[in-house]
């Protein structure tokens, strides 16, 4: 590979951009050639580490050795690598017909965010950043094990994002790792912009109702998952990570469970599971009991429900779907709205709409209570993705209950459990209670 040829090739590759800077430095029989994209590199570092020494050093030989000693130094293997690394914020230096790459990337997105999705009272309040290297730094500084391995892939044909697969070599299940590698290779997408998008692409089940990877932004959860033998995936430019394989019960735990004393965390867990069942079953139960088997109520309650429904023009299931529809709209609206306005939206939607609906007898008072109880208990589910799934499953249960009554509800719930049992996440059964078994033996055999 002659240097002139390569330089021409590089110029050819970047001819469509005017950002590539080619700098020719010549001073006292020293001569180097620099290529870089101005907006991607840290010019201060360039000045301090390259340009200043260049003018101070006595010979080209010394400068060459100096460059090789720099921590940012990288050997060049191929032309393609040069192209890619320049795009990643490296500087190409040509000296004595040798090509060196130096990583002078300027990252302005390496600030660690504070937690916003998985907020807790106890524990760290810091989440990940948007920068992949910073994120790996955060993980490594929380998990001091030599067996922690990181594999990099580049995904997305157009935007060429870096993807990191992180795992503890001693604890990870090799089958899982193989599946992930295989599926990552299969990913063929023009743009990869988020971790969860990548998760969907490697899940292999588009129509799954339940998430097969757990999204998290908390470093302590990542570390917890790594120690449990899970594989973490990170995409550059994303403050979220996904962990896999998961079981259903992962979605019902928060990191705070470990930070509380036994009885308190037990109480919170019971509360959470009660919330799960309440948000899943309550609307369907209302339809089933009021319209099919009113014997199930206490007499007073039956009379109150019957009385509160006087004048409501809809059947119970229309009433439920109608109110749930508005609740879902409210939820969606408060996510999309700017933070300053979303409080107003909740007030208008929750309070005013709720009372107005009963005043206009479009829904019974008890319906409003049920819908708000359901809305609140949905928020108790600690992982957002599971809450989304539950919202969808709830609708299916309402539909089957309004056709078949309580028997349909029981049957529908049974089908749900069967579905969960059938589901698997990267080869691990979804409804398994135990975490991954360690397979240190197979790891030793393979390495």
């Amino acid at each position: 590979m002659s240097s002139l040829e390569t330089i021409n090739w590089i110029n050819e590759q970047f001819k469509n951009t005017n950002e590539l800077v080619q700098k020719n430095l010549e001073y006292e029989n020293k001569h180097i050639l620099l290529f870089y994209i101005k907006s991607l590199i840290n010019s201060e570092m360039l000045q301090k580490l390259i340009i200043k020494p260049f003018f101070e050093m006595s010979s080209e030989e010394q400068f060459n050795l100096y460059l090789q000693a720099l921590p940012q130094f990288q050997e060049v293997q191929s032309k393609e690598q040069v192209h890619l690394e320049i795009m990643n914020g490296n500087i190409l230096i040509v000296i004595q017909n040798e090509f060196y790459l130096l990583d002078f990337k300027l990252a302005k997105n390496d600030k660690v965010n504070s937690t916003s999705v998985e907020t807790t009272i106890h524990g760290s309040q810091l989440a990940l950043s948007d920068n992949l290297m910073t994120n790996i730094n955060v993980i490594r500084s929380n998990y001091h094990q030599a067996s922690l391995s990181v594999e990099y892939f580049v995904k997305g044909e157009v935007n060429q994002h870096k993807v990191a697969v992180i795992y503890d070599k001693e604890k990870v299940k090799n089958d899982v790792l193989d599946i992930i590698r295989k599926r990552l290779q299969k990913v063929d997408k023009q743009l990869i912009t988020s971790t969860t998008q990548l998760g969907n692409l490697i899940n292999d089940s588009r129509f799954s109702l339940f998430p097969q990877m757990i999204m998290t932004e908390r470093p302590d959860r990542i570390v917890y998952n790594l120690a449990g033998g899970k594989v973490i995936l990170l995409v550059d430019g994303n403050p979220q990570s996904i962990a896999t394989p998961v079981v259903f019960f992962d979605f019902m735990t928060t990191m705070e469970d470990n930070y509380h004393t036994l009885f308190i965390s037990l109480f919170l867990k019971i509360l959470r599971y009660a919330g799960l069942f309440l948000s899943l079953l309550l609307p369907a139960l209302y339809v089933g009991v009021t319209s099919f088997t009113p014997e199930l109520f206490r007499t007073e309650l039956a009379l109150t429900v019957a009385g509160s429904r006087v004048g409501v023009p809809f059947s119970s299931f229309i009433e439920v779907l109608f109110m749930l529809f508005f609740m879902e709209l409210l939820l969606e609206a408060s996510i999309r709205l700017p933070k300053a306005v979303s409080a107003t939206a909740t007030t208008v939607g929750g309070l005013i709409l709720g009372t107005a609906v009963t005043e206009a007898s479009l829904a019974s008072n008890i319906m409003v209570i049920i819908v708000s109880a359901v809305a609140i208990s949905t928020f108790v589910i600690p992982v957002n993705e599971m809450a989304f799934s539950i919202r969808v499953v709830r609708l299916l249960l309402i539909i089957i209950t309004s056709v078949f009554g309580l028997a349909g509800l029981v049957l529908g719930f049974f089908v749900l459990i069967m579905y969960l049992v059938n589901l698997d996440s990267f080869g691990e059964t979804y409804l398994k209670i135990y975490t991954l078994s360690k397979n240190r033996k197979t790891t030793e055999e393979k390495t």
Binding site: F292, T299, E300, L303, T304, A306, G307, S308, V310
Partner: protein
């Protein structure tokens, strides 16, 4: 070999038409039902329509806070059969009659005297929405009058009569509680007789302290208040009972033993020649609640002896009446049947005879723990 995908398609194709064949219950909104609170069944005056049904219906309100007064409507109809009367009653109401919340069934005393209980029972059992756990009682003078009475201070949506039976409101030792399923069992089973509480009516309140034992082909036998209490002690239906203890000469001790824990066992001892003995063992634990004279802790064993004596007297009285009339609400007949092989068993006539002449053995274990006062 079909692929997995086409298998799934086939499964959906088969299962969806099958599901549509399944039917649940009928879809009916709760505000289109009218809830029946009590059912009263009486003998009517008309010759060809012997049954008179009275239904007490709840009037639904959206808020009991706004209308705390109980509101009911009543519909009454006579008919040749109960179902016929109910069918006609359905035309009296704009909504579907829902019997699922009928907690109490009152049968008029006249009807019971005519031995119509089993026919009434048949209807009550066959109708699916009448709950087997509803209470059943006898109404005096008639079921209709009992049902139509709303005493002062009754809560909306929870009739006062229910409080007598539900073990939460009233725990008196003189109230017998009979569930429909238990009543049926006692009717069908030989060797145990059905017992019903009698609901009587005063000008402003109910009075439930007697009970009625139904016997085949005989006039129902009424148990007075004391015997109703004893029946409750023996069947362990109640948690607390009072016993009045008095020494005969009038000068001695007179106190009330409050029994807060009781345990009773009964069995039949078969002797030869179809002679039997009824053995009743009762454990009475409690303390003294009221006394005319000061009581001393050191005399507790004496008071226990008094309790044993009085309890024995009263139980003997009770059982001699039971055996002489030939009624068996406690269920000695069942006990006998369960202890003997079928080929060695007496016929039912022989058993009835043996029961009448049975020897009565009563063992009381009194256990008064304190005099109820601190000395």
């Amino acid at each position: 070999m079909p692929s997995k995908k086409s298998k799934t398609k086939l499964f959906i194709l088969v299962i969806v038409p099958l599901i549509t064949l399944l039917t649940g219950c009928e879809f009916m909104d709760i505000d289109k039902d009218v809830f029946v609170s009590m059912i009263g069944i009486d003998k009517s005056d008309e010759e060809d329509k012997p049954y008179k049904i009275t239904l007490k219906l709840y009037v639904p309100t959206s808020s009991f806070k706004q209308s705390p007064e109980p509101q009911y409507t009543y519909i009454t109809k006579s008919g040749e059969t109960l179902s016929e009367a109910i069918r006609i009653l359905e035309t009296y109401s704009d909504k579907e009659l829902e019997f699922g919340h009928a907690k109490l069934i009152v049968i008029g005393e006249d009807l019971l005297k005519e031995h119509k209980a089993s026919e009434v029972m048949d209807f009550l059992l066959r109708r699916p929405d009448i709950q087997m756990i509803s209470w059943i009682a006898a109404g005096r003078p008639s079921a209709e009058e009992i049902i139509k009475m709303v005493p002062q201070g009754e809560n909306a949506a929870y009739p006062a009569l229910f409080n007598y039976f539900d073990d939460i409101g009233n725990e008196s030792q003189y109230i017998v509680t009979t569930y429909l399923f238990d009543f049926r069992r006692r009717m069908v089973e030989e060797g145990i007789d059905p017992i019903l509480p009698i609901i009587e009516k005063n000008t402003s309140h109910f009075k439930i302290n007697k009970s009625l034992v139904l016997v085949d082909k005989k006039e129902p036998h009424e148990l007075p208040t004391l015997y109703t209490g004893i029946f409750n002690i023996l069947s362990m239906n109640i948690q607390v009972a009072d016993l009045i203890i008095k020494e005969e000469d009038g000068e001695g001790e007179a106190f009330i033993a409050k029994i807060d824990s009781m345990n009773s066992k009964h069995k039949v001892i078969v002797k030869n020649n179809n002679n039997i003995a009824l053995e009743i063992e009762v454990r009475l634990t409690g303390y003294i609640a009221e006394s005319k004279h000061p009581l001393k802790m050191k005399n507790l064993s004496y008071y226990n002896k008094l309790l044993e004596k009085v309890a024995k007297e009263k139980l003997t009285e009770f059982f001699s009446e039971m055996t002489s009339v030939g009624i068996d609400p406690i269920g000695f007949g069942i006990d006998y049947k369960s202890r003997t092989l079928h080929n060695k068993r007496m016929s039912s006539e022989e058993w009835k005879e043996a029961y009448k002449n049975a020897e009565i053995k009563i063992i009381i274990h009194p256990k008064l723990k304190s005099t109820g006062a601190i000395q």
